[in-house]
């Protein structure tokens, strides 16, 4: 089904400096042994003696003032240990630090609602009980009296001065707004042959990992130490938030992240719950566990950023895009728990993969009475890339050109790489046009067109859509200073520790959590590759534990970063350990360090062929060290921090290199649409992906397919839809539809390998390219229904939406082949 293809400028993975060439091999993941036998250890599998469980009481209203909460009856229920309201918790913790500049920095955000509720599902009280059943029983008995307020349900109206205000303390619903302007936008519009005006809407959804959020806190009153088990995937970035909210010094908090059952970004905003179980454990002096319900996840977990664009494109009649200008409204929901980071993260792909130079976007982040948004696969970039792809389709359609040709005309070319976009971001290699051609070939476009024509004559509507996108990885945190110059974040880094013990065994640990990307496997491959071992012989510590794993403040599994950032750290640590081993071995073998080759678990002199097993090196260095000169370094534990060379972008001109590497992908979809029912049948789906050198191609392919399916289901199935009254209309998997094995065809993948000019080992990040499916499917559905002349502005293509667009329309002339 898939084959690796090599683009003309591609080279294979570079030969290893030493050893056995494990980088680039599709070995089965190490994790799969415990996962296939039921011995994975996910958060809810962690059991501590005497654990109490919590159940949350949720707001049934989108916007209301809390008049009173009566916990009397609930407190008297069997097994109940305590009931806390938002007011109670407010006295025990500090509100979360806000990223936004004034006035939105004054928003007060606590783990439970205080004074007001601002979205359906917001927790207002918590019951702690002996077990989860008793906690749930008692939560039902908590009586909350509300004064219902009018909700604000879309970003554009929320931004208007007459809208009801969510956070009275700041007097506005604006989280942030600002204008990004690059190039000569008005000049571009003055030269345009055609100006296209459009409004696009990118809907709300999330990627819904199968394992729900959970946290288990255990406070030891004797030592004053809090052990916090969490499946948060950016735990050390969250730690300052958690520690300061709990008023605990960070050295009193140990964070353990066991196996994580998927995240896709959705497990970053769980810090309010981490604080909640922690403070309850501190209060009650026993472990307290929270396991989220699916209904809670859907209503109060994380939604992806919902965005509306009002946009104008300046175009030359040959299809060249000259400039874009307009407004973007990000509906961030009721609290800014990661926002307004999304108001700048999109700028990593400000110009997408296109050559045009002029862009002016007024970006608004706005509070609404919906679930807070946060990272979701393709965070904030997928929305922007959707805009570009839809604009390319519009340009082609308006000018009567081929949609593929218009993209080709506008793509950055292979011979321009590395290419600096007008906002300072650098595309680090690739051949976009060639990937497009390959997708067209895989789909056999001419025969599809013939089929389309034949089917139309019989009243059946086949369509094909192709879209392209970038997957940026290794973000420069300093980009948040574009929105708030006072934020103490910049750069990016990752830490890995590689060490050899006295028996010559090699161990590795690193900062990112493991949520299914096979980090233990890829770490073992890189270390084995560098030290001449077999990956099976490298012991990779599972999960993350702040007491045993190295980390930096950037550590975590998010933004497609682990291959790039973790890869850089692993490489640095393994190479330094190799050097130290070489020095010791050279002394023992009476040769020079450069003469020592590490291979098959031995240190061997190339010159003499004499060799020592690593167990001897470890034994001498760590236990028999008088065999070595006193001034020789016997430390066989290396911690290395990898740090790409970023600079701080200017918050005045908003320019800078916002991210390190860019994978790209082109996706093609073939659909058949039933014009009566509006149902879309996905017939075929193909993808070409180029993430540079691959550490483990099977893992990469898994990421590409998984991401594509998330995009497909986002386009066709799932939506976190709200009614006008603020009720969430998707409260379980009954109405929040995720793709089953029957909903998606086998995604076919091919890889190009153009090594990155920026990332270590020539790798780029991978895993978030799935956003490509949304514009590809919108394009395919429009193509299918082109005889009816319908277009779609929304990223979500439900049968209802398609039916209503079709209403009253008959097929016009049979469309040209």
């Amino acid at each position: 089904m898939s084959a690796a293809r090599t683009s003309p400028r591609s080279v294979a993975v570079p030969a290893p400096a030493e050893g056995t060439g494990w980088v680039g091999k599709s070995i089965p993941t190490k994790e799969s042994v415990r996962f296939t036998t039921g011995h994975g250890s996910y958060l809810d599998d962690v059991k501590l003696e005497g654990t109490a469980h919590i159940a949350l009481v949720h707001s049934p209203y989108a916007h209301a003032r809390i008049r009173s909460i009566d916990v009397k009856e609930a407190s008297a229920m069997p097994g109940v240990l305590a009931v806390y309201t938002g007011e109670d918790i407010r006295k025990l913790v500090d509100p979360f630090m806000q990223l936004a500049p004034p006035p939105a920095d004054k928003v007060l955000d606590y783990p439970l609602a205080v004074e007001k509720v601002r979205f359906v599902g917001e927790p207002v009280a918590v019951v702690v009980a002996r077990d989860r059943y008793l906690a749930a029983d008692a939560a039902e008995m908590v009586q909350v009296d509300y004064d219902v307020l009018p909700p604000v349900m879309d970003a554009e109206s929320a931004a208007s001065p007459s809208a009801p205000i969510l956070h009275e303390a700041i007097g506005t619903n604006r989280v942030w707004d600002g204008v990004y302007e690059y190039g000569d936008v008005d000049g571009a519009f003055a030269q345009a042959d055609l100006v296209i005006q459009e409004k696009f809407h990118y809907h709300r959804f999330n990627s819904a990992p199968l394992e729900l959020n959970a946290a288990l806190a255990s406070f030891d009153r004797r030592t004053g130490e809090l052990t916090l088990y969490t499946n948060n995937v950016m735990p050390m970035f969250c730690m300052p938030l958690v520690a300061s909210s709990l008023r605990l010094p960070s050295d009193r908090i140990r964070v353990i992240v066991p196996d994580v059952g998927g995240s896709f970004g959705n497990k970053i905003n769980s810090f309010p719950y981490m604080v909640l179980v922690s403070v309850l454990s501190m209060q009650l002096g026993r472990p307290v566990k929270w396991t989220e319900l699916r209904s809670e996840f859907l209503a109060a977990g994380t939604h992806g950023n919902e965005r509306t664009f009002q946009i104008e494109a300046a175009v030359r009649k040959d299809g060249t895009l000259l400039g874009l200008r307009g407004e973007a409204f990000d509906d961030t929901g009721a609290y800014a728990r990661y926002e307004p980071a999304g108001a700048v993260i999109w700028a990593q792909v400000a110009f997408s993969m296109y050559r045009h130079k002029n862009l002016r976007l007024h970006f608004h982040s706005v509070f609404t009475n919906k679930c807070p948004v946060g990272p979701n696969r393709g965070y904030s970039r997928a929305q922007h890339l959707f805009l570009y792809e839809r604009i390319m389709d519009r340009i082609a359609d308006r000018l009567g050109l081929d949609r593929g040709e218009v993209r080709e005309r506008n793509f950055v070319r292979a011979d321009e790489m590395p290419y600096q976009a007008p906002n300072g971001t650098v595309l680090d290699g690739g051949d976009y046009a060639r990937a497009l051609h390959r997708v067209q070939e895989m789909l056999d476009l001419p025969s599809l067109r013939a089929q389309q024509k034949a089917l139309r004559a019989r009243g059946r509507y086949l369509g094909v859509g192709i879209a392209a996108a970038l997957d940026s990885a290794g973000n420069n945190f300093a980009q948040v200073r574009v929105i708030n110059p006072h934020l103490p974040f910049s750069g990016n880094s990752e830490s890995a520790r590689v060490w050899m013990d006295m028996m010559g065994r090699v161990h590795v640990a690193m900062g990112p959590t493991n949520q299914g990307q096979g980090h233990e496997t890829m770490a073992s491959q890189i270390v084995a590759h560098e030290l001449g071992l077999n990956p099976e012989d490298v012991h990779a510590l599972p999960g993350f534990d702040s007491h045993s794993h190295p980390y930096t403040g950037h550590s975590g599994a998010y933004a497609s970063r682990t291959a790039v950032m973790g890869g850089g750290a692993l490489l640095g640590a393994a190479r330094e350990l190799r050097r130290r081993i070489q020095v010791i071995a050279a002394h023992l073998l009476k040769t020079a360090p450069e003469d020592i080759l590490l291979e098959k678990g031995e240190a061997r002199s190339r010159r003499t062929g004499n060799a020592l097993p690593l167990s001897v090196i470890g034994g001498v260095a760590l236990g028999n060290s008088l065999e070595l000169p006193l001034d020789m370094d016997t430390n066989l534990s290396v911690t290395y921090v990898y740090r790409p060379p970023f600079r701080i972008p200017s918050h005045v001109d908003k320019k800078g290199n916002f991210t390190l590497t860019y994978s790209y992908q082109v996706h093609g979809a073939v659909v058949e649409v039933d014009p009566e029912t509006g149902k879309v049948h996905l017939r075929r789906y193909v993808a070409v992906d180029d993430c540079g050198n691959m550490i483990n191609p099977a893992i990469v392919e898994g990421q590409v397919i998984g991401a594509a399916v998330h995009g497909i289901e986002a386009a066709l199935l799932c939506e976190a839809k709200y009614g006008a009254d603020g009720q969430l209309l998707a409260s379980s998997f009954t109405d929040y539809l995720c793709a089953t094995s029957l909903d998606v065809p086998p995604v076919e993948v091919e890889h190009f390998i153009t090594p990155s000019t920026a990332g270590p080992m020539g790798v780029r990040g991978v895993g978030e390219g799935g956003g490509t499916a949304l514009p590809a499917l919108a394009a395919a559905v429009e193509d299918a229904l082109s005889p009816f002349g319908v277009t779609f502005q929304d990223s979500h293509l439900t049968p209802e939406r398609i039916q209503s667009a079709m209403r009253g329309r008959a097929p016009t002339v049979p469309s040209p082949p």
């Binding site: 089904m1 036998t37 039921g38 059952g261 209904s295 299914g516 893992i699 392919e701 995604v747």
Partner: protein, 167 residues
């Protein structure tokens, strides 16, 4: 009120205490400490909790522990034989049929039920058999491949008898 529930799990007699309303999945996980059976939803849609009850695949979040009294349950922990992986486990591993692994136990049990009744299923039959199990990571492609590979492997080997038979 709690009552004693005795059942045969993976061929072994086990017992524990359960209130009438306790779900089988919670009984397995919390009373018997068999945490390989997972929970991914509250409505019986995700299949993460799939086990075999008297040889039939069921969602253990839709069965009460007391309903399993005296019956036979097979969970993911019972598939290995003398330290050797079951062909389905091997195939999921070799074909990269998992990422986070959270759906894997349920997927493997649904697949086991399929292969016991249909030793050489078509792609379509495999897809139908696992359609009650959500995988949020893999897009199903490699899961289907793994089940097919396991069916081929099992056709050439005799499958180890199910735990109910050995037990």
């Amino acid at each position: 009120m709690k009552r004693k529930v005795s059942l045969r799990v993976n061929g072994e007699e086990r017992e524990g205490w359960a209130e009438d309303r306790m779900l089988l999945v919670h009984f397995l996980r919390d009373e018997l400490n068999l945490t390989g059976t997972h929970i991914g939803c509250d409505t019986g849609h995700c299949g993460a909790c799939t086990v075999l009850l008297d040889g039939k695949s069921v969602k253990s979040c839709m069965v009460l522990a007391v309903q399993a009294q005296g019956r036979k349950v097979e969970t993911i922990e019972g598939l290995e034989r003398e330290g050797k992986l079951h062909p389905l486990q091997e195939a999921f591993r070799e074909h990269h049929g998992l990422q986070c692994g959270y759906c894997t136990p349920g997927m493997i049990l649904s697949s086991l039920y399929l292969l016991r009744h249909n030793p050489s299923p078509s792609e379509e039959e495999i897809r139908r058999a696992i359609s009650g199990n959500l995988c949020r990571c893999t897009g199903y492609v490699n899961i289907v491949k793994a089940v097919r590979a396991a069916s081929e492997r099992m056709a050439t080997r005799v499958e180890a008898p199910s735990t109910e038979e050995t037990g």
